[in-house]
Amino acid sequence: MKGHDVVGNAHGVADMAETLAVNTKVLANDVSMLSSQTQEVVSSGSEFWLLMTIFVLACFVGYYVVWKVTPALHSPLMAVTNAISSVIIVGALIATGPILVTTSKIFGFIAVILSSIAIFGGFVVSHRMLSMFKKKKVR
C-alpha cells in the first residue's frame, strides 16, 4: 500500500464520514420534522376539528338545556352562567403554576383572583336566590 494511496483512502473515509454526518443531520432533521408533522397533523388538524365538533354539540346541548329553564329562574341562571364561565380559571392556574416569577405568572395570578371572584360570587348569589324559592306550606 502506497503512502498517497493510504492518504487518498483516508481522505475518502473522511469524506464518507463527512457525508455520513451530513446525511445523519438531514435524517435527524427529517425525522424530527416528520415527528412534529405527525404531531401537527394529529394535534392541529384532527384535534382542532374534534374540538370544533365538541363545540357544536355543546351549543346544541346549551340550546336545549337553556330553553328548558323555567322563566322564574332566569335570574339565578345568569348568576350560574357567570360562575361556570369562570372555569377559564383553569387557564389562569396554569400560568400561575411555574416557580419562576414572570409577567406571565403575575398575569395568571390576577386572572386567578378575577375568576375566583366570579366563581364564588356567582355560585353564592345563585344559592342565595334559590334558597328563597319556597313552595306553599301549611303554616
Partner: protein, 463 residues
C-alpha cells in the same frame, strides 16, 4: 395521566350541564347549583395536578382573595341590584380571559402550544380571538354596570359618525389580528388589546340604560365565547363545552327579552332607544281624566272581593316593596280572598327579576304565575292590583298598531272588573308610552311610592 384529566374534565362538563338542567324547576335547582360547584371543584383539582403547576402558594392566595371578595359581594348585594352584579361578574370573566391570553402568549410552553416566538398561526388566532372577545366583554360590562348603577347617565350617549367610528375600529381590530397572527409581536398584541378595550366602550355607550338587561345578557353570552376562545387555545374541551353553554344561555335570554319587548335585537344593539322614548313621553293624554283613590278605598275594594291578582313591576323593585306586598296578600288571604301573582316575562329590569324579589319576600312560588298560565284568568278576577308596573299591562300593545310596543304580549288586566294602579304619577314607563288604562272607568289610581302605599293599605286593612 392525560387520559384521567380528560376524563375528569368530561365529568365536570356533565356536571355543568346538569347544573343548568336543574334550573328547569325550583325543586331541582338547588341540587343543580351544588352539582355546578362540584364540577368546578373537579375542574380545579384536575388542573392543579398538571405537571406544569409547581408553585401552589400564589394560587392559594389568589383563590382565597378572590373567594372572599366574591362571597362577601354575593352575600351583601341587594336583590334589586342583581343586574349590576351580573354585569360586574361578566366584566371579571372578560378581563380574566384577556390576562390568560397574554399569559399564553408570553409562556406558550406551559400551555403546550409551542415556544415563545414560535407559536403556530392557529394558536395565535385562537388566543387573539379569546382575548378580543374577553376585552369587549370587559369594558362593555363595565359601561353597562356604570349605566345601571347611575354612575353614567342612562341616556344613550350619541355623537356624530358613531357608526362609522365603530366600523373603523372593527376593521382595525381585524387588521391587527391578522398582523399579529403573521408576526406574533407582543407590541401588536398589546395594541390589539387596547383598541378592543376602547371598542367595547364605544359599542355599549350609545345604548340606553333601560336596554342594559339585553346588553348584559349579550355580554354574558360573549363571556362564554371568550371561554371558548381560551379553550381552543389551551386545547381544553371543558372550557369549550362550558363556554358554549354560557354562550347559548346569554343568546337565548337576550332573544327572549327582545321578543317579549317586541323589539329586534339589532335595534337594541344599534342603540338610541331611550332617547326617542323620552321625547314620546309628553305629547298625548291631556284631556282624559284619571280617577284617583285613597289607600282606604283600595283596601276596602280588595277586602270585599273574592279574587285578587297582583301584578308587580319595575316600580315595586325600585321601591323595595316586595315585603309589604307579601303582607298585603297575607292579610287578604286571611279575609278569605284568593290571591295570585302574575309576572310578565320582562317585568322589572332583568329576566326572572320579579320572581326572585317575591321569593325573597317569602311568596311561595306556586302562587306566582307566568303570563301564558294566568292570562285567561283575568276575566274572572275582581281586582287586579298593579304595583309599579306599566308597559307590561298596557292594552295599547294589543290595539294601537302605531305604537312601539304593538304586538308585545301583555297581561290582560283590562279584562278584570276593577284595576288598581299603585304608582307615583301618570308618567309612562320604560317604553315611554302613555297607558290608556289609567283613564278607564274601571281603573282606580293610587298615587305614591309603592312601598309606602302598600303599607298604608295594610294598615287600613288591619285596623
Amino acid at each position: 395521566m392525560i387520559g384521567i384529566s380528560l376524563f375528569a374534565y368530561l365529568v365536570a362538563g356533565i356536571f355543568f350541564i346538569m347544573a343548568l338542567r336543574g334550573l328547569s324547576s325550583p325543586e331541582t335547582a338547588r341540587k343543580g347549583n351544588f352539582l355546578g360547584v362540584l364540577g368546578m371543584l373537579i375542574a380545579g383539582v384536575t388542573t392543579l395536578t398538571e405537571p406544569v403547576i409547581k408553585d401552589y402558594s400564589w394560587i392559594i392566595y389568589g383563590i382565597a382573595i378572590g373567594g372572599i371578595i366574591g362571597t362577601v359581594i354575593a352575600k351583601k348585594v341587594k336583590m334589586t341590584s342583581l343586574p349590576q352584579l351580573v354585569a360586574i361578574f361578566n366584566s371579571l370573566v372578560g378581563l380574566a380571559a384577556v390576562f390568560i391570553a397574554f399569559s399564553a402568549f408570553l409562556l406558550p410552553e406551559a400551555y403546550g402550544i409551542g415556544e415563545s416566538g414560535n407559536i403556530s398561526v392557529g394558536s395565535l388566532v385562537e388566543m387573539s380571538l379569546g382575548m378580543v372577545i374577553g376585552a369587549v366583554t370587559f369594558t362593555g360590562s363595565v359601561v353597562a354596570f356604570a349605566k345601571l348603577q347611575g354612575l353614567l347617565t342612562g341616556n344613550p350617549i350619541i355623537f356624530p359618525l358613531q357608526q362609522l367610528l365603530n366600523l373603523i375600529f372593527a376593521i382595525t381590530i381585524i387588521l391587527l389580528l391578522v398582523l399579529f397572527a403573521g408576526n406574533q409581536s407582543g407590541l401588536v398584541f398589546a395594541i390589539l388589546a387596547l383598541v378592543t378595550l376602547i371598542f367595547g366602550i364605544l359599542i355599549i355607550i350609545p345604548i340606553g340604560g333601560a336596554d342594559m338587561p339585553v346588553v348584559i345578557s349579550m355580554l354574558n353570552s360573549y363571556s362564554g365565547f371568550a371561554a371558548v376562545g381560551v379553550g381552543f387555545t389551551l386545547h381544553n374541551s371543558l372550557l369549550i363545552i362550558t363556554g358554549a353553554l354560557v354562550g347559548a344561555s346569554g343568546a337565548i335570554l337576550s332573544y327572549i327579552m327582545c321578543k317579549a319587548m317586541n323589539r329586534s335585537f339589532t335595534s337594541v344593539i344599534l342603540g338610541g332607544f331611550g332617547a326617542e322614548a323620552k321625547s314620546a313621553n309628553d305629547d298625548d293624554g291631556d284631556e282624559k281624566i284619571a280617577k284617583a283613590g285613597s289607600a282606604e278605598d283600595v283596601a276596602f275594594i280588595m277586602k270585599n272581593s273574592s279574587k285578587v291578582i297582583i301584578v308587580p313591576g319595575y316600580g315595586m323593585a325600585v321601591a323595595q316593596a316586595q315585603h309589604a306586598v307579601r303582607e298585603m296578600a297575607d292579610l287578604l288571604k286571611k279575609e278569605g280572598v284568593e290571591v295570585k301573582y302574575a309576572i310578565h316575562p320582562v317585568a322589572g329590569r332583568m329576566p326572572g327579576h320579579m320572581n326572585v324579589l317575591l321569593a325573597e319576600a317569602n311568596v311561595p312560588y306556586d302562587e306566582v304565575f307566568e303570563l301564558e298560565d294566568i292570562n285567561s284568568e283575568f276575566s274572572s278576577t275582581d281586582v287586579v292590583c298593579v304595583i309599579g308596573a306599566n308597559d307590561v299591562v298596557n292594552p295599547k300593545a294589543k290595539t294601537d298598531e302605531g305604537c312601539a310596543i304593538y304586538g308585545m304580549p301583555v297581561l290582560d288586566v283590562d279584562k278584570a272588573k276593577t284595576v288598581v294602579f299603585i304608582k307615583r304619577s301618570l308618567a309612562s314607563g320604560y317604553a315611554g308610552i302613555d297607558n290608556p288604562l289609567f283613564y278607564a272607568d274601571k281603573t282606580l289610581m293610587l298615587f305614591g311610592g309603592a312601598k309606602k302605599m302598600t303599607e298604608e293599605i295594610n294598615r287600613s286593612m288591619e285596623g
